[in-house]
């Protein structure tokens, strides 16, 4: 067992698979993740915390007679490893036979390494201190909380009993900022944003939409509701799409098909959105440090067009759902890109007769039909092509299905968050109301 404790991650996963089979599993897969992190956490005008963490997590999945069981442990204590193997096998014995349960046959990729070997921690602190100074000087009314600048190293090894072996190491920098503005008794809503990159950020204010959102926050002191209920345009920002595209994608994913609740199950090949809209899955994008070379079943990822020019070309189906529902396996990892359009954001705003710029949707979880209803946070009222005022206590209601069909403009500006990339989208037909 001491060999296991000292083994490389590749040998460790392979040996655990071998032991699972030796102990009675009919098939097995093991994923081992080593995650190291160095984080600088800061609030207000000072650094609060320097945090470095290390963890090694191993997930064992075993099959017996078509029944699945799994166990997760961290570290390499020999007793814990024995215990996890026993636990997974007992869980499988107690499981339910399902012909869709299996380990995947796939080609083994050469090990990959993405990103820096290590971070320059002193340089990261200097960047944070420069950001804090800049905030103080340029934006004295801005308050921040739990903003973090982090360097991650994630080393993932995979093996299964069909001889598939995968390994990828990804290292990246990530910045996340949370802020509001306060001027005496006047306060704005909080807002947040961030992004990830393979290379260190030179200037944190320039990360993603952080600088823009800070400027918008300072213009939000005198927020007020819309004056009346109306049906108008909505300009969805990249930060807003970050949330809404997951809602949309879930409806295209196999687990909603299994539930029978997706409105899109029978619509492959049909037009479901404006021809201006495409949704692409790009886990292999070179500028997505949080992409992936292989998925949780060890299957190499592939770039795939989900919606192309408004037409639903592919579903998001992982290995299990593909077997369960007899659909083509397409995507076990989601990293979305909505391609940029041709109009500038300023031009889109100028062409808006009446509507809102929706920067954050704070709402109840949209139902299976993708109807949504919620509060427009960090948002602005637009009339006759001009931004009039910041909004508070304003609700937006509509159908995401219909909204995608009603898209009439896509911005040429696009924001890369490090795992997804989105432009601004403008659509009509959303109900906007105040209390």
């Amino acid at each position: 067992m001491s060999g296991l404790v000292d083994a490389s991650a590749t040998d460790f996963t392979a040996e655990l698979v071998r032991r699972a089979i030796g102990d009675g599993a009919h098939a097995a897969q093991v994923t081992n993740v080593n995650l190291d992190r160095f984080e600088i956490d800061f609030s207000e005008r000072k650094v609060d915390l320097l945090r470095s963490t290390a963890n090694e997590t191993t997930s064992l999945g075993v099959l017996r007679d078509g029944k699945r069981g799994s166990a997760t442990l961290n570290g390499r204590d020999p007793d814990d490893i024995d215990g996890a193997l026993r636990t997974a096998l007992l869980a499988a014995d107690a499981g339910l036979a399902d012909p869709a349960n299996a380990v995947a046959e796939a080609s083994s990729l050469p090990p990959s390494r993405h990103g820096a070997e290590m971070a320059d921690r002193d340089a990261m602190i200097a960047t944070v201190l420069a950001y804090i100074r800049e905030l103080s000087e340029r934006y004295p009314l801005i308050r921040t909380r739990n903003s973090t600048y982090t360097f991650f190293v994630k080393d993932t090894s995979f093996a299964n009993s069909l001889g598939v072996h995968q390994r990828q190491r990804r290292a990246w920098y990530q910045f996340g900022a949370m802020f509001s503005a306060k001027d005496g008794a006047r306060a704005t809503s909080f807002n947040y944003s961030g992004a990830a990159s393979y290379v260190p950020f030179e200037q944190l204010l320039a990360v993603g939409t952080v600088g823009r959102l800070i400027e918008e926050t300072l213009r939000s002191f005198d927020a007020r509701p819309v004056s009346e209920k109306f049906i108008g345009d909505v300009i969805l920002t990249p930060d807003c799409l970050f949330h809404l595209m997951f809602v949309f994608a879930r409806a295209l994913g196999g687990y909603e098909f299994l539930a029978g609740t997706s409105p899109y199950k029978e619509k492959r090949g049909e037009t479901i959105a404006s021809p201006l809209f495409s949704l692409l899955n790009r886990p292999l994008a070179e500028d997505f440090p949080e992409g992936a070379d292989f998925d949780g079943f060890g299957i190499p990822t592939a770039d795939l067009d989900i919606v192309k020019d408004g037409r639903l070309d592919n579903f998001l189906v992982d290995f299990y759902i593909a077997r369960r529902l007899k659909l083509p396996q397409t995507a076990g990892v989601w990293n979305f890109v909505v391609p940029a359009g041709e109009r500038s954001l300023d031009d889109i705003i100028a062409g808006t007769r009446r509507g809102i710029i929706l920067s954050r949707f704070s709402g109840g979880r949209p139902n299976s039909n993708l109807d949504f209803s919620g509060v427009a946070k960090n948002s602005f009222y637009v009339e006759d092509g001009e931004i009039r005022h910041a909004l508070t206590e304003t609700m937006v209601t509509g159908s995401l299905q219909q909204l995608l069909k009603n898209i009439h403009a896509v911005s040429r500006e696009q924001v890369n968050f490090g795992d997804h990339a989105y432009p601004y989208l403008a659509a009509s037909g959303v109900t906007i109301s105040a209390k």
Binding site: S43, E44, D48, L49, L50, R51, S52, T53, A54, N55, T57, R68, G69, S70, A71, T72, L73, N74, G75, D77, D80, A84, T87, A91, D93, A94, G95, L96, D98, L129, R143, R145, N146, S180, A181, K182, A185, A187, T188, S189, F190, K229, A259, G260, T261, P263, R324, G363, G364, N367, S368, N369, D371, S373, G374, K377, E393, M395, S433, K435
Partner: protein, 459 residues
């Protein structure tokens, strides 16, 4: 484990916490009879946190070996040194509190459920639902338990060990309505390990029957009229309101970063019928599903009255916010996993019950809504809040009417609470509540029913 940690106390240099922390979890997920997840996990390690020159250095390692513990301590110190190198030394100290001590081990003494018993519970339930209600579009069953086990020592002399288990069984049903699928879910469970729960089939099926009836009513239900309405909030919705709209606003780190609550201390912010607090132990009635006695900085958890008879009275603190606001730490520093640092977090947050009966509150509404279940919620540092509502009914002439479809409620909490005219006589806690703020963490949320005015979304 506490004894082993004590061996390192001699090596502490300045303010230091040393925590061993393991989360034990079981999770089974069944959708339409397919067992999508059947897993058990144990994730633990040791962490150290030091304080020097006004900042913390934190480090963690998996396992509980001497090597891991020494490495965590050394790297936490190195992180404080790195900070001092960048900004220069600066004298700063945290407020000292009475060191929390004691063993709070709520581990079950019953025989654990076997893997087969867990699976059988879901299978029986699924089969019973499928047989009784064949027209359902989908059935989701999720059985999950989490026990957080911690041993903590600090340079101030705190020494404590705790094992806090909680278990939840979620059942969700979907059916096809005329205009698309609709869903409802409910949860059963609470404090204790899996084997402590009363998961007998008959009472569970009675709850599922009730959920099915509510689902049918919702399928035939109506959309709310958008606008401001008189409403009665069910205790479980009032509990989310207490947590999201008031509790977050009154966390001292939010106050430091601009929460409007900072401007309202000792001012009326609610009807004088409202008293709201964040409580240690298992809450004021001893019935929440989250016992907590000593926080992760070693401070004994004391009850905090946030609003007393409508007047804002206090905030939730860890040592650092208490230092900055010249207050007393309240025992609100909590960490979710061994690699997480303690943050200002709520514990058991609740509005205290009043004297009104639910029936009387509904009877007092001429035209409005009874809102029974919330899906998710968010609140702002301005106290503006939003919750999704998944279950409710119209109130017409003091009586319940048609069921309503999913909607959203919103408002500004410090305005909305002033509209409260009735406070129910029964405190109820939500089962299996969670909070997300950098880290997820289990919390308690509770309240009585409230009658108030609130903004509803509609079509």
């Amino acid at each position: 484990m506490l004894d082993r940690l004590q061996d390192y106390a001699r090596s502490f240099d300045g303010y230091t916490e040393l925590r061993w922390h393991t989360n034990h979890a079981v999770r089974l997920v069944m959708r339409k009879g397919a067992l999508l997840q059947n897993s058990q996990s144990r994730e633990g390690g040791v962490s150290a946190r030091c304080y020097r020159s006004g900042a913390f250095g934190f480090a963690s390692r998996p396992g509980d070996t001497e090597e891991a513990t020494k490495a965590a301590l050394a790297e936490a110190r190195a992180n404080t040194a790195l900070y001092e190198r960048a900004v220069g030394p600066c004298p700063a100290s945290l407020p000292q509190t009475a060191p929390g001590t004691g063993i709070y081990d709520y581990r079950s003494r019953r025989v654990p459920l076997s893997p087969s018993e867990r699976t059988d519970l879901l299978r029986w339930l699924n089969d019973a639902i499928a047989q009784k209600y064949p027209g359902l579009l989908n059935t989701d069953l999720v059985l999950s338990s989490l026990a957080m086990e911690k041993a903590l020592i600090t340079s101030e002399g705190a020494a404590t060990h705790s094992y806090i288990p909680r278990t939840v069984l979620l059942f969700g049903l979907s059916m096809q309505a005329n205009d698309g699928p609709i869903e409802l879910s409910d949860v059963a469970g609470g404090f204790g390990d899996l084997q402590d729960q009363c998961y007998d089939l008959e009472p569970l099926l009675e709850r599922i029957d009730a959920l099915y009836v509510a689902l049918r009513e919702k399928a035939d239900g109506t959309h709310c009229e958008a606008g401001v309405h008189d409403v009665v909030l069910d205790p479980l919705v009032a509990g989310i309101l207490a947590h999201e709209a008031i509790g977050h606003t009154c966390e001292a780190d939010s106050v430091l970063t601009g929460s409007v609550a900072g401007d309202y201390i000792d001012q009326p912010v609610a009807s004088e019928k409202i008293t709201l607090g964040d409580y240690g132990g298992r809450g004021p009635d001893g019935k929440s599903d989250l016992p907590i006695h000593i926080d992760d900085e070693g401070t004994p958890c004391r009850d905090v009255t946030i609003i007393e008879n409508g007047v804002l009275k206090g905030f939730l603190h860890n040592k650092d916010t208490a230092r900055r606001l010249e207050a007393e730490p309240t025992g609100n520093a909590r960490a979710f996993a061994f690699g997480d640092e303690p943050l200002v977090r709520m514990r058991n947050t609740a509005i205290l019950p009043g004297v009104d009966r639910l029936d009387d509150m509904i009877a007092a509404v001429d035209r409005g809504y009874y809102l029974m279940r919330a899906s998710n919620g968010q609140a702002d540092w301005t106290s503006e809040f939003m919750f999704g509502i998944t279950r409710g009914y119209e109130i017409r002439n003091g009586k319940l009417g048609r069921a309503i479809r999913d909607t959203t409620i919103s408002g500004v909490a410090f305005d909305m609470l002033k509209t409260v005219t009735h406070v129910g006589d029964t405190l109820r806690w939500m089962e299996g509540a969670w909070c997300g703020k950098k880290q997820l963490i289990p919390v308690g949320m509770g309240g009585p029913a409230l009658k108030c005015r609130i903004t509803l979304g509609g079509q």
